[in-house]
Symmetry: C2
Subunit: 416 residues, 2 copies
Amino acid sequence: MSRAVTNLQIDSTRLWDSIHETAKFGATPKGGVRRLTLSQEDKQVRDWFRKACEGAGLEVHVDTLGSMFAVRKGRDMSKLPVGLGSHLDTQPTGGKFDGILGTLGALEVIRTLNDAGIETDAPLCIVNWTNEEGSRFAPAMMASAAYVGDFTVDDILSRKDAEGTTVGAALDGIGYRGETKVGTQKFSGFVELHIEQGPILEAENKTIGVVDHGQGVFWYDGKVTGFESHAGSTPMPLRRDALLALSEFALTLEQIAIKLGPNAVATIGEAVIANPSRNVIPGEIAFTIDCRSANADTLDALDASLRAAAGEISKKRRVEIAIDQVWRKPPTHFDPKLVDAVERAAGTLGYAHRRITSGAGHDACNLNTIMPAAMVFVPCKDGISHNELEDATQSDCAAGTNVLLHTVLSLAGVAS
Amino acid sequence: MSRAVTNLQIDSTRLWDSIHETAKFGATPKGGVRRLTLSQEDKQVRDWFRKACEGAGLEVHVDTLGSMFAVRKGRDMSKLPVGLGSHLDTQPTGGKFDGILGTLGALEVIRTLNDAGIETDAPLCIVNWTNEEGSRFAPAMMASAAYVGDFTVDDILSRKDAEGTTVGAALDGIGYRGETKVGTQKFSGFVELHIEQGPILEAENKTIGVVDHGQGVFWYDGKVTGFESHAGSTPMPLRRDALLALSEFALTLEQIAIKLGPNAVATIGEAVIANPSRNVIPGEIAFTIDCRSANADTLDALDASLRAAAGEISKKRRVEIAIDQVWRKPPTHFDPKLVDAVERAAGTLGYAHRRITSGAGHDACNLNTIMPAAMVFVPCKDGISHNELEDATQSDCAAGTNVLLHTVLSLAGVAS
């Protein structure tokens, strides 16, 4: 590799400007972003991204689940492209970096190669995966899951949001139901840059996390069925209060996760009382559970313990607690060769780095089941993510993008 | 009083038919009624009620908060009328009897007097109070509260439902903003027939509850503010989970009420997570608290204990818990002479009866602060109310209406 290629650095200011320019699509008053997948705000950022990719000379195509692929030709078009990218959708009160850094970082890699006049041997292909977040439609990472064959396309197209709109209707609503058959855009491997979404890199003063594992995830839909009755005239001992049963379950689940920790977490993110009224004892509550661990045995122990707790509490409080597992994603072991490539790039560039487990799920975890995949993490402020206060420094974002650049170059190959 | 008057009985079948005829306005699949105040379903039952009252020769007028007054002339029109009635609105998943029995029972009293050709000395006036339930607009019993001067009419008119519709707009929406100035239709006293909404009469095999006390009620709006963060990458010890804090508060509140019992209850009826997502740790939850006791000191102890608990939990879990008291209704001591009149009527009619405290709030509790008021309870099945399964027997409903009839006759006076 020539010295010019070895020393190649991305344009930190251009990357930073892109991140802040797109943050206006769904900007919230507190400085975050609300850009639910396939919403009008998502359409705006997709249109921006398509135009930017075309401006960088890439050929953009869209698959039938709305995932966007932007291809840069290589010297040898018989080779499969190296994939890089992430997602542009956000949580309901999300931040400016989650997913966005990885997608716009990939765009910055291409722009940097264009400016330097560098052609890679294999082609490159940026991806913006549809619905990574999973907050409008379940499951999260649905497009990459369908890509690797975990779900059929028809199944995903029929999933509904809280208003009853299907994925198919939402795709048509913003004009992003593309023509590429899901799974047909192949890659030799996939590299995803992302903020850590946790506190470790910042605490240890590391610039780069070389992600070698991803946590497995179990998702559940739950429902407590007690009995609605009058808040004034029903004595405390006669109540079958669904909220109190859920409260006891939530605190027990917290203890279970702490006991199985430090490598285990459990969260009740949604809880909705049916027909709530301030003078009626709650009779029914629907809720969700999210359990994660990088260790498969720990996940199974979480599953068994939470089911046992539900059984005990339902008996004690004379309510029903239904627990339905709706998603089961095993832990990820990223491709050792690609992980090494990321680590080498970080080392060559001189960034302080460490191996790390991803607490969050990512599209790269899905892709790793059918191709070599790896991830690059950069620190985020106070470990905060899925929050409008999510923040990262320009310098760390640039460092991560440089690692992405050099990892991709090592995979795609550059004529010396 | 003549023998004909002494033996007078209402028409049990006609009463039962009225109850079931009006139950179609807002009927739910499970056999209950959803008739939120000032909704289209409420307009339907109001129109039916107005027509029925006019059919019984009553003169109907409506006050500026929508409460309906149906006056039957007395022999001596210089006397204030005796008031009787209740409300026709229901909880979101309410039953066929709560409020309805007292209003249609009052109509049945008038119809019975008409059939028997009995004229009372004082006039009689049936009332259908607006928004007794409080589930669409807070507070509950708002119209009778404004009637007795606890709130200004403008204040009540500006109260909003969850969609932001004001009471004033809702009144106009169904054409029930009347012209009578609130508080100007005076009464010498008020008697309200109601289902018990609790388990005591049924358990003790009594037909009539002679209500001598009503529980005081404290209502609060609460908010837990923790911190939204990623459900996968935030270790358990670093979380500031608003739902876990509320769970701990809810279970502590239950223990407080049990400890201060048996004459104390506390309920969290509403709890809404802001921006819920299954993979985001809840950062903010709005909730309500309803505390009741017939003893003022117990209510004060509940108040002090729940505030202390909120303080401790917020400190321990590094969240804020705001507790705002939005309504404070002292316990009711019903007028001893009217309570005696109810007891005498029950005794004369030969019904098994006992003195009882009302667990629920009622318009009669508000009225008792400025005039003599009393209540008649009848049993309801399994003590269940504010539920679609709410039920009462035809025979008990008739017995309660007979007690209402004879109490009203004793207050209004009948020429012997």
